[in-house]
Symmetry: D3
Subunit: 254 residues, 6 copies
């Protein structure tokens, strides 16, 4: 099978692929962030990379190295910055990182770029990075950029199967059923199922306080229980997400 | 009734209030952005200011001048940057603006600050501005900051009354029922009800494309119809939001 | 009478005006800064907005929302940063704010932009913001920008009438006769004439010291007495300034 | 006579002076800017350095290397950026340059720093650089900073002698009588008196336009004639300025 | 064997390790850069990570995710920015990335941090990132940082064995004998030995030109031939470098 | 002899030279940095300026004012930032300074620019400044930039004569034989030969530590002894460097 990971290709091979195939280049965007006692710190980069690789295999794409560090973790979606191990960037620095890298892909002749975000907190700083890069390049530069948080490809049907008792919403899915199931599918050696905590779901008021109210976040860092996770659910989710992403780039860049 | 707007107080009066009352200072965060043919460009600053003023009246607070320009409008929540009139800032510049202003309130002796955001796209750049300001000030500076998108105080009951046929979600509420009703309540002279468009709701895929797919956005700029808006619903929403905000600051800063 | 304030127009109306009339867009630039015990903190934004609105009415222009926060107050022209209530921005942040907004007006198709500055300390950071925006846009972008500190339209005749005992110079006019008179003309409800202090004029050496010598600044924050202010003088000054500005844009953008 | 120029001292000598004498360190701030056909591009750095050196000789101070490049030349005070040879910095970059250098002097143990500005356009970006440095250092850092535009030490008596027909104001003194006289005093080999133009004084309206109206600026770059300049006037001005500066630092840092 | 890679640990395990062992945290710093037709684009991150992991295994350390993108490639040490595939950052953005990450490790309680640079062009921007982070943290923060370009641990003995005909210097070792040998040792599946070019060594004058003289760089991107590379030499080099690094952190952080 | 220093020319003369001669403009890049007890703080700017002036005399070039402040001194090549007198800039600020100045020379019509660096630590921030300026200007702007550390023009023959016992490498040449000899040649009045220390050469491990290990740096700040310096060697070195630079610009800009 053809190599999909850019860092494992020589520049000659990469140039050939870009010139010949007009491929989609995927840029996974992750974080180094606590994901509970049962998942590793690198979940977001691992999953966005895994999703991007599978989509790339389906559409003849190329996957660039992940942005391994992301924006600051927020209590209501990632637990917050008070956890050791969470290692985050200032917002503008993340935007500039994305901006530089996007500008470089355009220089290579890439015309189809897909940012696959696996860390919710990254979203707006990636949007800004894309906007700044396109401003630099000029609107007629020929580069189009797709950006997605990969879980948005979960269909209602799939969510119905994964959450038979009702989907609590993506907001609390940090280190919970979706991420744990996907890790059981893609990286089962990096899930310590015996350490899945059973904290009830975190509850947040309709506002945020700073410095954060860390007492609202379960000490485990898990915002709702991952007890319902399974590799089978992970396979289902992975198919929805990877298939959806592959179709999306086909449609968007047609 | 006591003045709530900071720009209308003398510095002597402001100092007295801060020293004597330990008041909440509200900072409304708006935008200058298209809101359809039936609402004015300044809706977000007007509504966040109106909500902040009413909450301030209830809790003895002070309302600072709104940030009148906000982050770049996105197609799926604000229509996008292709509309004339929409006048937006780079993300980092908005963060730095918030950072500077917050640092100044701390210098004044303010200990309770509430950012009332009326423009969804501002959210993460305000979060970053708050974080940078608190980093500058040091964590033991005595200032606490609350940040909210004001519509998050709409309870399910209220949404049920406002949307008898079901709430389509905040995502499409740009220039739609909630904002139009609130404007009919707070600024009826600035709603041109005869120009409310009847476009069906916009539909977006689970990703964004850049440069944006402007053809997905109704040419009016309204993401779902505002036909169901009324001043009565505006009063109901205003009470939920202003009351909720007043209670929130009381609870959060207790 | 036709609406002049941009934030009160719909985008459809704004687009029509810009496309049809090639209007001057005015951007008032203010501050939130102590103006003595007898004037409110928002004087600079209020007066630059009032002047811009009157000029816009005379020339068919449009007035954008004011920049409500300005550069740091200096002892010799604004009293200094040690006053509670004064809420200021770093210089570069103000420049970037102006730069972003100017670039947006160019995108809208505006070709005539007038920055009406009401806060002396803003001047050079606005100059830089204009220069950076024009560099971004390219020199053949079609946008021309006028910048003025509005009081520079006071003619010698008018100053002679307003200061029968001799004009002490703009340097000490902070919260003094000119600003107080203009407020009595435009916003009489926001002048507390019974609190006008009677401090003698501040005196400064031919240098500045940092951290500032706050003892040189009268404790009231007024750099020379406003006792001579009157609504009649305000009307005279307003006519000179608004008429001068309207004529200036007509001449400059002819 | 003891060396006053820092770049000509060894670090051992500099340390000894700082530790023993608690000297004033002077930082001349210049530009590389057209000064008419009769003066060299480096006038502002040369004169601010010359003034600082003479003041340093009188008070036992030290003169650091000048900032040789300054903020962008403006038509009404420096002729504007359209002249070849004028070589200018963005405002923030000048501020950061001053900030860094000031922070370093504080690290050396310097407690008395005087910025001697010879280029009017630098003023506000130096103010910002000082403010940012003092924010970095903390207000109890022990460093005090004086900033002056050196010509502000010209007394009315001296101006009366130099301009027997009346002083036209500093605004038009670019490359005119004051600077030319001072150059005849300090650097007579760099004044080409036979090339002094005789343009009438430039006239400017009470606003600025961007892109600049270069036709308002005399083609020579001189804003009012330097015909009245002489070495004798230069000596008089130099004494006023250098003596005034030496007295000012004595008073300010007492 | 204990896990050394931070992204594969849970935050609970990471916290335990940091609190209990006071471990060295290694931060590999790489690039995405052409490395000839026989090596993959990700060589610098792969080798710095491999070296860091081996050193970490020897000293009980932890390896953070690599910085996968680095500073702009220069002709004389990396071939230059004209190669497709080379994907680089602005210098300040790399510095800020390092600064943020370092500040986070200090927050975690890490006291020993080692930046292992595998991309020569990164060096000075990493130095700046370290300096800025330590300025932020304060000099008494307890964090010490070691920075090395890993090849500097090659002893003269080892270089003598690897280059029996004489070592041409690190300057031309881009994609040449050292990197190719180390890749044959650590990642033999990512070396395409049949594509090793046989270009003679590149020659550069004692200056650089911009825009770069790309004709000085062999079209393959290899600055001197990798023909002499072998897995055995890679093992020798790896032992020198990994052993040297492990000893260095032991000595430096004793 | 024709003037070579830009700051001593009028803008009219400069314009004539640029228009008529298409001259090389040299920009010396220095520092204010300790150079032992026997050399002054300004060595790097003095020597880069002296070299540039001599090269300019030989090729009809022009020398712009030196960048008098440079990047932070490092222990292994400049002694480090702990010495009083060393006065350094943040890296990005130096890059922006170079960027601005380069962009201005392009505006003047200069097509041949040579940065002559006399402070090793400046190198990469100058490279970045050049790259950013060329990005701003566009690749077809007509400006070419040469950058050199001047000592790289020392041929092996010359080094053999200057170091009869073997050249220890440029790394330790801070304030040592080369710089001292060149100062004896160009500025003999600023060398205090009786204070040349006789410290043995500094030794550094193959890594750097931060905060720096200042105990590795001789207290004098000299990294290897300058005892072998002489004016004769200075003349030899100067001829190699100035001649080499003059030839280089002739070849590079042909």
């Amino acid at each position: 099978m053809s190599e999909v990971r850019m860092e494992r290709m020589s520049w000659v091979e990469y140039r050939r692929r870009v010139e010949t195939d007009d491929p989609v280049v995927f840029l996974p965007c992750g974080s180094l962030e606590q994901h509970g006692p049962h998942l590793p710190l690198g979940v977001d980069a691992m999953l966005s990379t895994a999703v991007a690789c599978e989509a790339a295999r389906r559409c003849g794409g190329i996957v660039a190295p992940a942005l391994a560090y992301g924006y600051k973790s927020q209590p209501r979606c990632g637990g917050g910055q008070h956890f050791p191990g969470t290692t985050s960037l200032d917002g503008d620095h993340l935007s500039q990182l994305a901006r530089d890298v996007i500008r470089e892909f355009a220089r290579h002749g890439v015309r189809k770029l897909a940012l696959v975000d696996g860390h919710y907190e990254n979203q707006w700083f990636l949007i800004e990075g894309i906007d700044l890069a396109l401003r630099d390049l000029g609107r007629d530069c020929g580069l189009r950029v797709l950006r997605t948080e990969y879980w948005d490809f979960c269909t209602e049907d799939v969510l119905g199967e994964v959450f038979p008792d009702g989907f609590p919403g993506f907001a609390l899915e940090h280190a919970a059923v979706i991420e744990t199931s996907l890790m059981l599918h893609f990286h089962p050696d990096l899930v310590w199922t015996d350490r899945i905590p059973d904290d009830g779901p975190a509850e947040f008021p309709p506002y945020d306080l700073y410095p954060p109210e860390t007492e609202r976040v379960p000490p485990s860092g898990v915002l709702s229980s991952a007890r319902g996770a399974s590799a089978a659910k992970g396979a289902l989710l992975a198919e929805a997400v990877c298939g959806g992403l592959a179709q999306a780039v086909a449609a968007a860049f047609a």
